[in-house]
Symmetry: C2
Subunit: 226 residues, 2 copies
DNA sequence: TTCATAGTTCGCTTATAATCGAACTATGAA
DNA sequence: TTCATAGTTCGATTATAAGCGAACTATGAA
């Protein structure tokens, strides 16, 4: 057996679907908790914990404790580069995740993406805000305009804590299919929490589905229908 | 489940030790037959065949038939880049193949690396030829000097077919540990075949060990001891 | 204190895939 | 033709690891 770097170890770490989903989720640059990553990969917390310790032992991710949370993120730029290279090649070779399947139409309509809204509703939010120049598209950032700031405030969301946070306000969630990016960032999070808080929607436990009720549907439409 | 490129598929293809060894072997740029790759990964031909069809289906390698042989090689530069990136990261993270183990000391002494000699003897050949300026080290190539050409001819090896081939004459076999590169290229192949042909050495079937006999040891030493 | 949330560890079950023996096809050599 | 080599396909075995329930620790909140 030849000497040399063991690419099999890296490969098998990335090669497990659950771990690949976690890593892909972390590629947004956000640090995520074990629970969030478990949800992302549709596995239980125990299983996720096992995967995360393997990923950490392999040097692909690192964690920092914060209170009773453990935030995981991509270990360093080298790992990020590798994952990006793999995504590029996978796309070029036509290897796409097909599990998206219409298993649950509710998932397509509105679902949680870590801490913000994805699915048709998520896309519609971003489209609508773009159309009204509430956000301007930069290179790979989104900028909230003054009009946008007013819009958010008018919804009853306090911009103070958001502006002071290190997290970007607006961010397109890089859906690798590109044509369907949705609103992430602290504004995205605030929106989702606002929906919960107003009693417009609730999260179905054990699933990523976000369930809007009658009133919620109406409010959402009045806010984001063009 | 998010849409996006399926890096898990690529990962799992590379993540199997047998396949990783095959891919690593192909990273020299040489096209290898299924049998050679099976030997490289220490698996049977049946198993190798199964792996190779998976790798091909995944777009990582391609084959071209030539008579009753099938030569496999890395599919394209993108795949090569990915593997190189992975090797670099694996090395940086300290993931080394440790199976090298002293399972068989004969393997360390002299073994086949596809079509040329590796192990201590392989290293010694290259060192010796460098010391006598038979080869000059270029950027990542090796150049055979006129003196080197004479040396090869004097051994009784016909340089004609080698010079006309598209294959590089001399090539360091990129052992990823870097400090132990040995002589590959068509000269490397010619040397090994010369040893066989002169009855100085024989290959132990079912293994990569090259067994030098008494006479072979002596001849080798007189040729390559400084 | 008690309760709740976040996460780990242990042990078990299960599913996947790597492996190889055996039988097959295909190409070339004698 | 026959024989040998190269490779594939099929079927069965086996080993590994993913997954989860249950019980545990740890941090924070009330």
């Amino acid at each position: 057996m030849k000497e040399g770097p063991d690419i099999a170890l890296l490969g098998s770490l990335i090669g497990d679907p659950a771990r690949a989903n976690m890593l892909t989720a972390l590629m947004t640059g956000m640090a995520l908790t074990a629970s969030e990553l478990a949800a992302e990969a549709s596995i239980t917390l125990q299983t996720a914990s096992s995967h995360l310790s393997k990923l950490e032992a392999g040097g692909l991710i690192r964690q920092r404790k914060q209170g009773r949370h453990r935030y995981f993120s991509i270990a360093d730029d080298d790992v990020g580069n590798l994952l990006e290279t793999m995504m590029g090649l996978a796309q070029k070779k036509g290897h796409m995740r097909t599990r998206t399947g219409p298993k649950d139409p509710a998932l397509r309509k509105a679902r949680v993406c870590y801490n913000h809204l994805a699915g048709e509703y998520g896309v519609q939010m971003l489209d609508s805000m773009k159309a009204r120049n509430f956000v301007l598209e930069g290179k790979d950032e989104l900028e909230l305009t003054d009009a946008g700031r007013d819009f958010v405030t008018a919804m009853g969301i306090d911009m103070e804590p958001l502006s002071n946070s290190r997290r970007p306000l607006c961010k397109p969630c890089l859906d690798w299919s590109a044509r369907r990016s949705h609103l992430a960032g602290s504004i995205g999070t605030a929106f989702l929490e606002h929906f919960y808080h107003q009693g417009w929607a609730r999260r179905i436990s054990g699933s990523r589905v976000v369930d809007f009720n009658r009133k919620g549907e109406a409010e959402f439409k009045s806010l984001f229908n063009t």
